[in-house]
């Protein structure tokens, strides 16, 4: 049971970090579309997936989406939260599953590349569905935005998040292992 509580509290703190990063760091990536803002909120979820597996990553994503829907004023919050959950969820589950199978640096890179592509693909029908249904924007208007704006934005966002994850995961992961060794050593 001991590991259970530790894992739970670590996942909780990662969710908190994800929410904080979502609020603190925000800037538009593509000058033509200032309403699409980059935020590194996916990094903690990806790290959770790498450390504890895809299920844990998905749990972090769900907790973050729910907190987002409950605290940030509702309305766009609900739609935003669903979109965030599906997009980040896809990325996290795909990345976590691949990294679990191939547990080395190459595996991590492959996991991030494949999951970025999956996320970008999933966002196409999602945007078509929600933007048309919710704001009643004609399908053609959204379709016209997909290749010049939505796809490059999501690709760029996923790439940046992947790079940050690779760079951050290494020191954080080795710190965790160190900590485990220390506590095990103390236990004896």
């Amino acid at each position: 049971m001991k590991d259970g509580t530790k894992k739970l509290s670590r996942l909780a703190v990662l969710s908190a970090l994800s929410i904080i990063l979502m609020f603190m760091v925000r800037f538009p990536l593509i000058p033509a579309a200032p309403f699409l803002e980059y935020e590194p909120g996916d990094v903690p979820a990806l790290i959770a997936a790498f450390l504890f597996g895809p299920g844990a990553g998905l749990l972090v994503t769900l907790a973050v989406s729910l907190v987002q829907a409950l605290t940030v004023s509702a309305g766009s919050g609900w739609i935003g939260a669903i979109m965030h959950f599906v997009a980040t969820g896809t990325m996290v589950v795909v990345a976590g599953s691949i990294y679990q199978r191939f547990h080395n640096f190459g595996g991590a890179l492959m996991a991030l590349i494949v999951s970025s592509l999956c996320m970008t693909t999933v966002m196409i029908p999602l945007n078509l569905f929600f933007t048309t249904k919710f704001m009643n924007v004609p399908v053609e208007a959204v379709r016209a935005m997909i290749f010049p704006i939505i796809v490059p934005f999501n690709l760029l966002k996923a790439t940046l998040n992947s790079c940050l994850t690779v760079v951050v995961y290494k020191p954080v992961g080795s710190f965790m292992r160190l900590e485990v060794q220390r506590t095990v050593g103390e236990g004896r």
Partner: protein
């Protein structure tokens, strides 16, 4: 910058809406959204608008607070209305160069804008009248039936509670680390995309490590107090469905049925 972030917008009170069980409020908000998307004509919208006004008055939240929830939506609202104004095909009533306003577009745009407005005003009452912790509790209880298919309801709610508790602490920590790295010459706010992403590394690594330290300390403290998961846990504040909750849920059910009736028959 850090002071601007308010997580949650709960305004304590003892109105009828405040006293409802969080589960009732979550389900009620869902029912309202459903009714809003089903209803299609002026009759339906009239009833839904009246309903919103009544519960806003009942909640005794100052109107200025309710309207503040709309602020982040100005942009999206304007976008929706204008796009509908000028992109809907139909009878032309006004034209300026390439912009053409049609009768159908005018109607459609106002309709969509109104729908968005009602959606935000009413659902923001959910977060205005119940604390995040109460809502988390409500979600845990609502997800309980799904435990059998493997939804970790308790773990999820516990994670959300801890996350909410730790957001202010970690924000302070982030601020501290940012200042410490700025004193060493780090740049966070300038440069192109790649430089900005690169600049985040010296912030993220110490932030993650200190967050994990805190998490481990918390786990220790929880275990010292005999935390062992959700099984058999007792609570200080037990959620209880009262008569008024059942009345409220019945009312919301009727609203949805009315919306369906309006769509099909009126």
């Amino acid at each position: 910058m850090l002071k601007d972030i308010t997580i949650g917008q709960y305004i304590p009170g003892d109105s009828l809406i405040h006293l409802l069980d969080p589960r009732t409020k979550i389900l009620g908000a869902m029912a309202f959204i459903l009714a809003l998307f089903i209803a299609s004509g002026p009759e339906g919208y009239l009833i839904l608008t009246l309903f919103s006004i009544i519960i806003i008055i009942l909640s005794r939240i100052p109107t200025s607070f309710v309207l503040r929830g709309l602020k982040p939506l100005y942009y999206i609202l304007a976008f929706t209305v204008l796009l509908n104004f000028f992109l809907t095909p139909g009878v032309e009533i006004w034209r300026w160069k390439f912009l053409r306003l049609t009768e159908e577009g005018l109607r459609q745009g106002l309709f969509m804008g109104w729908r968005l407005l009602l959606l935000v005003l009413t659902t923001s009452l959910l977060t205005l009248t119940s604390s995040p912790i109460a809502l988390t509790d409500g979600i845990e209880r609502l997800l309980n039936p799904f435990k059998t298919i493997g939804v970790p309801a308790h773990e999820l709610a516990m994670m959300m509670t801890i996350a909410l508790r730790f957001i202010p602490t970690l924000l302070e920590e982030t601020d501290k680390i940012m200042k410490a790295q700025m004193a060493r010459g780090a740049e966070f706010e300038s440069g192109n995309i790649v430089q900005r992403a690169k600049g985040m590394v010296p912030l993220l690594v110490p932030l993650f490590i200190s967050a994990f330290r805190r998490a481990d300390e918390l786990a220790m403290a929880m275990e010292a107090r005999c935390y062992r998961g959700g099984e058999g846990r007792t609570r200080m504040k037990q959620l209880e469905m009262k008569k008024r909750d059942y009345y409220a849920l019945t009312l919301m059910g009727l609203l949805v049925i009315f919306a369906i009736y309006e769509r099909l028959c009126l």
